[in-house]
Amino acid sequence: MTAVSAPAEPLVPGAPPSATLAQDVWRGISRENPVVIQMLGMCPTMAVTNLLANGIAMGLATTFVMVGSGLFVSLFRRYIASEVRITSYILIIATFVTLADMILAATFPTISKALGPFMPLIVANCLLLGRAEAFAAKVGLARAVADGFGMGMGFTVSLSALSAFRELLGRGSLLGVDLLGPRYEPWVFLVLPPGGFFALGMLLITVAWVAGRRARRRAKAVA
């Protein structure tokens, strides 16, 4: 678990090493977490995490697009010429984003309105193109779907943690339910744009601290 000191390279040449499906899923949530470790998909990470509901919706929508595009990129990997592969991946991703956008607008119109242009902006999330290029285009269907699901879940978990922190301290509520009572003075800074950078910075520092402590403890156990 030296993940923090050596971030994963998003665009590795050659096929990824073989692993079981469970490992493919788990890697996205832990060791290669898209937000905390790889720092991919930063724009939605900070723009929509001022409310927990928005964070969860964005995470799940991204998971849907990751799984769908992983499936199709892997399915057509033998037929896509390498010169036009980036454009083809972007087109596959854009199709699934349009689908997700329409499904969300039909089922949760309020959240869809709150996310606004950040829903179609999932297309420009580098995580999707990065995984299509580095992973889905080089492996079979099942592994591509497992990886997409894992990365999407890792994204959802990080976004939920970040937005729960910002909503709880910035508004004193979670999912719109008032938790800290009327006497709590909301830390409004956290729901404003600078608060997004600040919260993620704090999250990264905490992760680095935990990883460093674990490494020191392991070194002590060996010695």
Binding site: V4, L11, M39, L40, M42, C43, M46, A47, I86, T87, I90, L91, A94, T95, V97, T98, D101, M102, G116, P117, P120, L121, V123, A124, N125, C126, L129, L192, P193, P194, G195, G196, F197, F198, L200, G201, M202, L204, I205, A208, W209, G212
Partner: protein, 192 residues
């Protein structure tokens, strides 16, 4: 005229694309180690933004009137081709810059600032001239944010920072302070 000036100033500082609207953060964190590279990437972005603003207006006015659900797909295809043109031009005329920018040049395609500009322009129903001014404001705002961040990071190289914050953690806290500074302009919008 005053509308145009307002659009320019508001996208340049009040609603700065990078620091207030969170668009284009990948290059904001990825290419801001050196001032020189940072502002050049900013200008390359400005150029792509201009192309995008014009093509998005053409698409919205003449092509997508009956098929608004194809908007995302149409925009991204236009952006991808625009970036391809810029990449070829930079490779031919500025080979050194081409090597410095590396992967971040093709990655302009997945820079949310570009697609974001097209989407915001659509939702605000800008005319062609307004769209071009919007793109200029956004591009210069992006260049400003990138150069500011890069000059701060150049100084940070020599600073003695606690080990846990040495990587991206500190950069994010710095970005937070920069964003707070830009929030100071927010009062300018209340008169409108």
């Amino acid at each position: 005229m005053s509308t145009l000036a307002w659009i320019f100033v508001s996208t340049l500082v009040v609603n700065n694309f990078t620091l207030v609207m969170f668009l284009g953060l990948c290059s904001f964190f990825g290419v801001t180690a050196k001032v020189e590279t940072a502002w050049r990437l900013g200008l390359a972005n400005t150029f792509v933004l201009l192309i995008t603003a014009v093509s998005a207006w053409v698409l919205n006015t003449y092509v997508l009137t009956r098929t608004p659900f194809l908007r995302t797909i149409a925009f991204i295809v236009v952006i991808a081709s625009g970036v391809q043109i810029v990449e070829m031009a930079v490779r031919k005329h500025f080979p050194v810059l081409f090597r410095q920018l590396g992967i971040y040049l093709p990655l302009i395609t997945t820079n949310c600032a570009i697609l974001g500009l097209a989407l915001f322009q659509t939702s605000r129903h800008y005319t062609l001239v307004e769209g071009i001014v919007f793109a200029l404001g956004a591009g210069f705002g992006l260049t400003l944010a990138l150069s500011l961040m890069a000059s701060i990071r150049e100084r940070l190289e020599l600073a003695d920072v606690p080990a846990v914050a040495r990587r991206m953690g500190l950069v994010l806290i710095v970005a937070s302070s920069l964003s707070m500074a830009f929030m100071g302009f927010a009062g300018m919008g209340s008169g409108q």
